[in-house]
């Protein structure tokens, strides 16, 4: 690699330093009152708890897999809280914090990781599309959806905006870049929100990009901005501004939320094979929850009772998540054939009927005392 990277270390929009000090940024003024700050804190803690429980549930065999958001809570809650009711989010597979902000019950997320559904919530009800696993695909869906918003004339101060979530690795995919270009050419009301958590499974950022990711946008003709993704206030402010810009008809923005994947890629992964523990230690000091807590404490915006209350709520939610996970009903065998097509399909109907007969043959056989 050449030294292009070294030259210009990008400016990071930050409103809250790792030590919990509030700072200002000329482009991103933000007013947060105590209530809002506490409520952000609550969200951060609760989604982390949901996440911790999910990891544990996977270890216990209750989930097939889990993709932890540990370390990325601020990037997700900050951006998720910037969304308005009518906005639409297109997630990847790790956006549990955004899902939380959109009113998706954790139970609904667990279904896919438990293997009882492939998604299943109603995107329109929540303004939150289904998780998308094939990297990059949803960036184009978001762009198309935003083109629909344009065609509906739903722009303006009260208009609607769209946000697409993806990771640093996803910026290498053709689809993501095609989405950047479609959005630029059509001036579509979409915000591209890249959580740069420094890793794509085992591959560090320098295998994905030679320069900071937010720079990609300029090559397509729209603004890019790097925000401290562990700073929930900055993420909120930057995302809100970008969404507002989009809804007012000024086109796309790429937000690079600079953060860190503190856990494994998924519960299948073992990061000790490819990264130094010192790196993790360093990022622990930048923990997004700690940071906001320090701020709340220093400013006297919250007392011990508040923190204890949030922890208790987290305990309750944890318990609920465990119970609801175990209670998720298994699908019946014939559901294989459901919703493959919207309209009646002779071929699928026939396969369903044949399989029902086949299954019934065992019951008959069982009744008769064995095959």
């Amino acid at each position: 690699m050449s030294d292009t990277t070294a030259h210009d270390e990008p400016e990071l929009v930050q409103l809250l330093t790792p030590d919990g000090e509030l700072v200002t940024h000329p482009d991103y003024p933000l007013e947060v009152d105590a209530d809002q700050a506490r409520s952000l804190y609550r969200d951060l803690v609760l989604v982390r708890r949901v996440d911790t429980e999910a990891v544990a549930l996977q270890r216990q065999g209750e989930l097939g897999l889990w993709a932890s958001l540990l370390g990325q809570e601020a990037a997700q809650i900050g951006s998720g809280r910037a969304l308005r009711d009518g906005d639409m989010a297109f997630p990847s597979y790790r956006e549990h914090g955004v899902a939380w902000c959109r009113g998706i019950a954790p139970r609904e997320l667990l279904g896919m990781f438990r293997g009882v559904t492939n998604g299943g919530w109603d995107p329109d009800e929540h303004g939150f599309q289904l998780y998308t696993i094939v990297i990059g695909s949803q960036a184009l869906h978001a762009t198309g959806y935003a083109m629909g918003v344009q065609r509906d004339g739903a722009l303006g101060d009260d208009g609607e905006a769209v946000i697409a979530y993806f990771g640093d690795g996803a910026t290498s995919q053709g689809d993501t870049n095609e989405a950047f270009n479609y959005a630029a050419v059509n001036n579509a009301p979409v915000v591209f929100f890249c959580q740069n958590n420094q890793w794509a499974i085992s591959e560090p950022l320098d295998r994905q990009s030679r320069v900071p990711i937010y720079k990609r946008a300029s090559g397509f003709g729209f603004p890019g901005v790097r925000v401290d993704g562990n700073d929930v206030l900055a993420t909120l402010a930057v995302t809100r501004a970008a969404l507002q810009n989009a809804r007012e008809g000024n086109g796309p923005t790429l937000i690079e939320a600079f953060t860190y994947r503190m856990g494994a890629h998924t519960t299948n992964d073992d990061p000790t094979r490819y990264r130094a523990s010192a790196e993790l230690e360093e990022w622990k000091r930048k923990d997004p929850i700690l940071r906001l807590r320090t701020y709340l404490e220093k400013q006297g915006l919250a007392d011990e009772a508040f923190f204890a209350g949030v922890d208790e709520e987290a305990d309750r939610i944890g318990e609920q998540v465990r119970a609801e996970c175990r209670a998720l009903p298994d699908p019946g065998p014939l559901e294989i054939f459901d919703e493959v097509y919207a309209e009646p399909n002779v071929h699928i109907d026939r396969q369903r009927a044949d399989f029902a007969d086949y299954l019934a043959s065992f019951e008959d056989a069982g009744a008769e005392g064995g095959r």
Binding site: W121, L140, Y145, R151, D152, D175, V346
Partner: protein
């Protein structure tokens, strides 16, 4: 009103009627706007419906299908043109992993009524990638409906049915037949047209069934005419997925012989599935194994060889002969 239309113009008229009937219908693709498409199938639509409904997209097929999915999620009904069969492949991921699966993924909460119009097949003397018959890739993919047309009447109705369908539909247009004409009653009610999933007996017969679809239907009809000794029934399949097996097996049980002709390469082409399935269902009725007449298992060759590569009248007749050799 009955009008004499070519297949290309019938699709154009069908698109227009669908756009008039439903403001959510959009047309998008490369050069579909001012140019009206390289085959002029979207001629005049840009002028009459404007750039918001007839979208000249950037040159990126994954982007076409991917943004069409997003538009569909927003309530639109996009009709995408893929300029030529050979340029579908950049859109394979969006088509196979997203378009085909979104409904199932959402347990039915989401529909993606996208139509992919693809001029397909050979015989126009083109350079590489302009003569492919990729229907097997689509038909092997659950969640997609795959239809094709062989005449202007079906073209007019089936494009409208495809657009109305809440399922994603791959609509394959036989490019070398774009200029075939027929009388179309363009004022009839859409509901009165035969469902696009239904196969059609294009010519009744008693001695053997000759099944074809899209560009090969004309060749099949010519072959049936040319065969003076035997009475050949010709089936125009229309829907490649799902296949209307009721019509096909009923015919085969009557005739006892089945010959399938398609431009797609032989191995794992649609004929393979139809042959396997019909053999399962009509085992005791078949006097001979199902005979397939198809393109060879090679890349589509340079155009000076295409007359040898594509199944023509002689090859189809040879197939019929083979069926009677048992």
């Amino acid at each position: 009103m009955s009008t004499n239309l070519t297949i290309g113009k019938a699709i154009n008229a069908g698109l227009r009627r669908a756009m008039e009937a439903d403001p959510k219908v959009l047309v998008m693709g490369e050069d579909v706007g001012r140019l009206g498409g390289v085959f002029r199938v979207t001629d005049q639509l840009h002028k009459d419906f404007g750039a918001d409904r007839v979208i000249d997209t950037p040159l990126a097929e994954s982007g076409i299908v991917g943004t069409a999915i997003g538009l569909a999620l927003r309530g639109y009904r996009p009709v995408c043109e893929i300029q030529f069969d050979g340029f579908f492949f950049p859109a394979a991921n969006q088509t196979f992993t997203q378009l085909a699966k979104l409904r199932r993924r959402s347990a039915g909460k989401v529909s993606v009524p996208v139509v992919l119009r693809i001029p397909y097949g050979g015989g126009i003397g083109a350079v590489e990638h302009h003569s492919e018959s990729p229907e097997a890739y689509f038909a092997h993919t659950a969640g997609l409906r795959v239809v094709t047309v062989a005449n202007a009447v079906d073209s007019y109705w089936m494009i409208q049915q495809a657009i109305r369908s809440d399922d994603p539909v791959v609509f394959l247009e036989p490019k070398r037949r774009y200029y075939e004409k027929a009388e179309v009653d363009t004022d009839a009610a859409l509901e009165s047209a035969a469902p696009m999933g239904r196969a059609r007996i294009a010519r009744p017969g008693t001695d053997a069934t000759l099944l074809a679809y899209g560009p090969m239907v004309k060749t099949a009809l010519q072959a049936a005419e040319a065969d003076e000794e035997r009475s050949i029934e010709v089936i125009d399949l229309r829907s490649i997925s799902p296949v209307d097996y009721a019509t096909v097996t009923e015919s085969v049980r009557r005739t006892g012989r089945l010959v399938i002709a398609h431009e797609a390469p032989l191995s794992l082409g649609p004929g393979a599935e139809i042959a396997a399935r019909v053999t399962e269902e009509c085992f005791y009725h078949l006097e001979s194994p199902v005979v397939r007449v198809a393109a060879f298992d090679t890349p589509y060759p340079q155009s000076r060889l295409e007359e040898h590569y594509l199944p023509d009248l002689d090859r189809v007749l040879d197939g019929v002969d083979r069926a009677f050799a048992y």
